[in-house]
């Protein structure tokens, strides 16, 4: 796992390179993504940051602007699923894909070498210059299946 000081230096380097400014707000967004395990909506991140830093004013617009910036620079990644809008996580983690449970919303991360290799091959097959890729497996996690088997009533849904 990448450590925070490295991420922070990366951010500073990128900002300098693009002649942008290093601000407390940009740092706070990066830190929030780093410190909180999970995948957050802009709203949720906003709340997290406000709660942890009642001293600093941070507008929701800045959250959006910063997340866009971080994603462009690879310091944040986003996924979206179903009704949910985009959710962000810290970038520069080892690449991985996601299992998403439709019952409890849990997101599990995984990595599979074979899939990675085949993706590169597919891109080559279409003469496509791959810059990124993402895979989602949608379904029902172990815990939800067990819980729902417990409740005799058939709460199974079909989507």
């Amino acid at each position: 796992m990448v450590d925070y000081s490295f991420l922070l230096e990366e951010l500073k380097r990128i900002l300098k390179e693009k002649q942008l400014k290093f601000t407390r707000q940009r740092e706070l967004v990066l830190k929030a993504l780093f410190e909180n395990e999970g995948h957050f909506s802009p709203e949720e991140l906003h709340r997290l940051i406000q709660k942890k830093n009642p001293d600093t004013r941070v507008g929701i617009a800045t959250i959006y602007r910063t997340l866009t910036l971080l994603e462009e620079e690879g310091l944040a990644d986003s996924i979206s699923f179903g009704k949910e809008g985009k959710r962000y996580e810290i970038g520069l983690k080892k690449h991985h894909d996601h299992l998403i449970c439709t019952h409890c919303g849990k997101i599990i991360e995984f990595f599979d070498e074979t899939i990675e290799k085949r993706q590169e091959e597919v891109a080559r097959r279409f003469d496509f210059q791959m810059t990124d890729h993402a895979m989602k497996i949608i379904g029902i996690c172990k815990e939800c299946r067990e819980r729902e088997a417990g409740n005799q009533t058939n709460t199974q849904e079909n989507h």
Copy 2:
């Protein structure tokens, strides 16, 4: 490729099963998805349908409601990418994944047996009951790279 009459029968069967009604609007949305190759936003589908059927009034709300229904029943699939919201295509096609060009927005479909197999394995590994899965390869297509190599000026973007 599945033919339209089959899809229509499927829709009727599903509606009957759920005691819902077969309406002209629902048929029009299914037909629009079937007849138009591509991946459309609700707005775009609305426009397509209105243009082709000036006689029938179709509200945007019905488009949303119908797309949600069709997706739940597997008669439509959706993908989303970047700023774009959800885009829909007809369902019940042979399963496939997508290559998405960030320069021209083109979406290429592909299928890779090895990837499919590995996905099942990953789900098994996590004791996860997979109901669906999706893969996106993001990048720059051949045509865009060629076109942009032609324009001497470096129009390459980095996101």
